[in-house]
C-alpha cells in the first residue's frame, strides 16, 4: 500500500466519482447482493462507495456493510455514515479504525449529526437540535482523531531482547474533555485507543457542507465536504461558494441524484421518490456525461445517488464512466491506493509523536 506518495493537487482537472449504494431503489434487505453491488461499483470504475445510515426499515448498520465490502474489493474507497450524536465516541473511533484495517486503508467517515427524536429516545437522551448538533459532531471527530493518533505508527516493536511488544513511550492518552460550553451532557475520554493507529494514520472525515463553517464544525476538522444544491444548474455555483468558504485544503464533493433512460424506459417516468433536497439529473447518459464533466471542473468529486442501483449502475458502467475517462475527466482508479491518496491528502504524522519529538529536541 502506498502511504506517503506525492499528493495529487486538488486543482487536478481529473476528478473522482463516488456512488451511494443505498439510494432509492436499493433494497437494503437483499444482503446477499451487497458484495455484488460493491464489486459492480468497483468494476464500473467508481472511486468510492458510500453507505447511508438513515433510519430506514430493513437497512443494516452502515459501518458493518462497509466492513463486509472490505475484503471483497481492492480499489474502491468505503465510506459509511456514522452518527456522532447518539453514539459512544470511543466505540466509533475503534470501529472506524477497524474498518481501515479490513479494507486495507480505503476507509473514510461521513460524520453525521442530524435531528433525530427516534435516535434520542432509543438511548434515553433528550433530542439534540440546532447548533448543539455541530458541537456534538466536532467533539466526536476530535475524540476519534486523538485516539487514532494515540498509537504512533511504530509503537509495536516486538523486541525479543527486552521482551517488549510495544514501546510504551509511543502510546499516548487522548485526554479529551468536552468544552465548558458544551450543550449536551459533558464527558471525557482517556485513551489510548484499543487498536493501533489506522493504516492511513487518520481516516478522511467528510461532513455535509451545511454542518461546516463558522459556529459549527470548523473546516479544518474535516477533510472533505458534501455540497448540495436544489438544481444541477445551481450546483457548480454552490461548489465554488463552499470552496471559497472552507479553503483549499478541504476537498469538495458535489451531490447529484441520477435517473437515466434505461431499458427503453424514460428517466422522467422513474424520477419520483428521490430526495427532494438534492439536485437531480434525469435524462440520457450523454447529457449526464456533459454535466459531470463540467461539475468535475469545479468539484474534486461528485457523489451520485442512483434512483435504482441496478438500473443506473448498469448505464453508468456501460456508457458514462468509460466516456468520462476517455475525455480525461476522471482519474484512473488505483489498486491498493488509500482513500487519502484519492483525496490528495498526505499521510499525517501522529500529533503526539510530533509533540514528543519537539519536546525531545528542546531538552
Amino acid at each position: 500500500m502506498s502511504t506517503s506518495e506525492t499528493p495529487v493537487p486538488s486543482t487536478s482537472p481529473a476528478g473522482f466519482l463516488a456512488i451511494e449504494l443505498d439510494g432509492a431503489g436499493w433494497d437494503g434487505g437483499h444482503f446477499a447482493s451487497l458484495g455484488e453491488a460493491v464489486l459492480a461499483a468497483e468494476s464500473a470504475g467508481f472511486h468510492a462507495a458510500t453507505f447511508t445510515d438513515a433510519p430506514v426499515q430493513g437497512r443494516a448498520n452502515a459501518l458493518q456493510r462497509a466492513a463486509y465490502a472490505g475484503p471483497a474489493t481492492r480499489t474502491i474507497a468505503l465510506v459509511p455514515e456514522v452518527d456522532t450524536v447518539y453514539t459512544e465516541p470511543f466505540h466509533v473511533s475503534t470501529q472506524l479504525a477497524s474498518l481501515d484495517y479490513v479494507s486495507g486503508g480505503r476507509a473514510g467517515w461521513i460524520a453525521t449529526a442530524a435531528e433525530s427524536p427516534e435516535g434520542a429516545a432509543a438511548v434515553g437522551r433528550s433530542s439534540v437540535s440546532g447548533e448543539a448538533l455541530a458541537q456534538e459532531a466536532e467533539a466526536s471527530i476530535e475524540v476519534s482523531r486523538r485516539l487514532w493518533d494515540s498509537w504512533e505508527d511504530d509503537a509495536v516493536i516486538r523486541d525479543v531482547a527486552t521482551g517488549r511488544y510495544i514501546d510504551v513511550d509511543k502510546l499516548h492518552y487522548a485526554e479529551f474533555e468536552t468544552p465548558a460550553d458544551f450543550a449536551g451532557p459533558a464527558y471525557s475520554v482517556k485513551g489510548p485507543s484499543i487498536i493501533p493507529r489506522p493504516l492511513q494514520g487518520q481516516l478522511p472525515v467528510l461532513a455535509a457542507a451545511s454542518l461546516v463553517g463558522e459556529g459549527q464544525i470548523p473546516a479544518d476538522a474535516v477533510d472533505a465536504v458534501l455540497v448540495t444544491a436544489p438544481t444541477p444548474e445551481l450546483l457548480a455555483a454552490e461548489v465554488r461558494d463552499v470552496r471559497a468558504r472552507v479553503g483549499a485544503s478541504v476537498a469538495v464533493i458535489a451531490e447529484l441524484d441520477v435517473v437515466l433512460h434505461s431499458r427503453g424506459q424514460a428517466a422522467a417516468e422513474r424520477s419520483g421518490g428521490l430526495d427532494g433536497g438534492r439536485a437531480q439529473y434525469a435524462g440520457t447518459a450523454e447529457g449526464l456525461m456533459d454535466l459531470l464533466e463540467s461539475l468535475l471542473e469545479e468539484a474534486d468529486g461528485v457523489r451520485l445517488h442512483p434512483a435504482s442501483l441496478a438500473l443506473e449502475l448498469d448505464e453508468l458502467s456501460r456508457l458514462v464512466l468509460p466516456e468520462l475517462r476517455r475525455r480525461g475527466a476522471l482519474r484512473p482508479p488505483v489498486q491498493d491506493g488509500t482513500f487519502r491518496d484519492l483525496l490528495g491528502l498526505t499521510r499525517p504524522a501522529s500529533r503526539y509523536g510530533a509533540a514528543a519529538a519537539a519536546a525531545g529536541a528542546g531538552k
Binding site: 444482503f31 443494516a60 463486509y68 475484503p71 470511543f90 470501529q95 484495517y101 438511548v123 521482551g163
Partner: protein, 447 residues
Amino acid sequence: MTQHNRAKSGVFTPTGKIQFGIFFQGVNSGTIWKAAESGSQTDFESFRRLAQTAERGLFAAFFLGEGLRLREHLGRPHALDVVGRPDAQTMLAALASVTKKIGLVATQNTTYNDPADLAHRLASLDLISGGRAAWNIVTTDNAWTGANFRRGGYLDHADRYKHAEAFVETAKRIWDSWETPSGPARQVLHEGQHYTVDVTPRLPRSAQYRPVLFQAGDSPGGRDFAARQADVIFSAHPKFDDAVEFRKDLVERSLAAGRGANAVQIMPASEFILAATAAEALEKKEWVRSLQIGPQQAVAYLEQFWGRELSEYDPDGPLPEIDPVVEETSETRGSGFHGAKARQLADQWRAEAKDKGLSIRQFVSSRTARVDATFTGSYTAVADQLAEYTRVGAVDGFNISPWLVPTGLDDIVNHLVPELQERGVYPTEYAGSTLRENLGLETPVRS
C-alpha cells in the same frame, strides 16, 4: 430423540459430539509474538487465515474479545504482551464476506454499550452473515474502564448481573418484536434504573431468528444468569471430573430456571499443544511456555501484585522476600487480576514456590499457563481423551485459544479433527447454514 425434544427434556442427554470454537483473544501472554511464525495481531490477513482454517475444520464459531481500555502496568500501558485489537463486530462483518458457515461471535460489554444500539448492531451482523452472529455477554463495572465512555463508572459491582440481565432482556425484546419474520415490529419500551429505551426496531428476523447468546461467569450469580438467559456458557472447567461436576450444576440451575436440562450448552476455554508423539508434544509445550512467559513477563507479573518494581530480582531466582505495597491489586491489568488480597497472596505464593522449588519464572509460568485448560499429547491420545468427554456429555465443545497467530489452528484442523471424526465424535459437515443450526440449538421462544 429430535434436537427439539432434547432441548425441552427434563433429563440431560449427551449429544455424543463435541464442537470447537476459536477464541482470538488478541491480548494476553498466551498468544506468542516472539516466534518466527508469529504474524500480525491486527492485519485482516491474520483473521482471515484463522477463520478460514477454522471453517475448513468445521468449527462452530469464531470469537473475538472486546477491548475497552488498554491494560496498564504500574501506571503505564503494559508493554510485554500482545496488545491492540480491532473492534469485534467490524472485524466479524468483514469475516462474514470471506466465510460461509462458521458462527461469528462478538464479545460485547453490557455496561458501556446502549441496549438499543448494541441490539441493532448485532441484528445487523446477524443479517449480513446470513444468521451466523452471536453475542458473548460480558460485564464490567469499574470506573477505570469507564474513563473512556460518556457515563464513566456508574454501575456498582453488586448490580452488574442485575443490570446485565435487564440489558439482555431488552435486547431480546428488540429482536423478538416482529409479528412475522418480515414485520411489522412492535415498539419496545424499557425504563430502568440506568437507562431508558424507546425504540421501534428496524431490522427483520435473521435466518436464525436472533443472535445466539454466549456467556461466561463462574460465580453462582453468573451461572444463574447463564441458566436463565444464555444458549451457551463458557466454563472454566475443562478437566474431566470438574467438567462433569459443572454439567450437573448447570443442569440443576437450568431446570430451576424453567428451561430444559439440555437448554444451555457448555464450552470450556482450552489450549491444545499437539504433535505426532507424546514426547514431541511435551517438548513443544516447553517451547510454548518459554515464549509465553519470558523473564520480563515473569517479573512483571509479580510486580502487578506487589505494586512496585521488582527489576532487581533474578527471574531464575526465588520469589521476592519483600512484601507488596498495595493491599489489593487494581483492575488495570484486566479482570483476571482484580481484587486479590496482595499480602495474603504473596505469602501463599512464596510458600508454594519454596515448597516446589520453583524460580520466579517457573512459578509464574505455572500460574499463567492455564494448566488446567491445556490438552497436551499426541493427536491420537488427545482424540481418545476428548472422545471420553462425549460418552457422558461432560461438555458440548471446547473454545480453543490458539497460542500462535495466524497458524495456531493448523495442527488441530489437519490432525486432531480427522482423528475425532474417525471416532465418530466430531461433525463431518456443517448441519446447516446458521450458527443455531450448527450448534443444534432450539429456536428461541419469543420472550
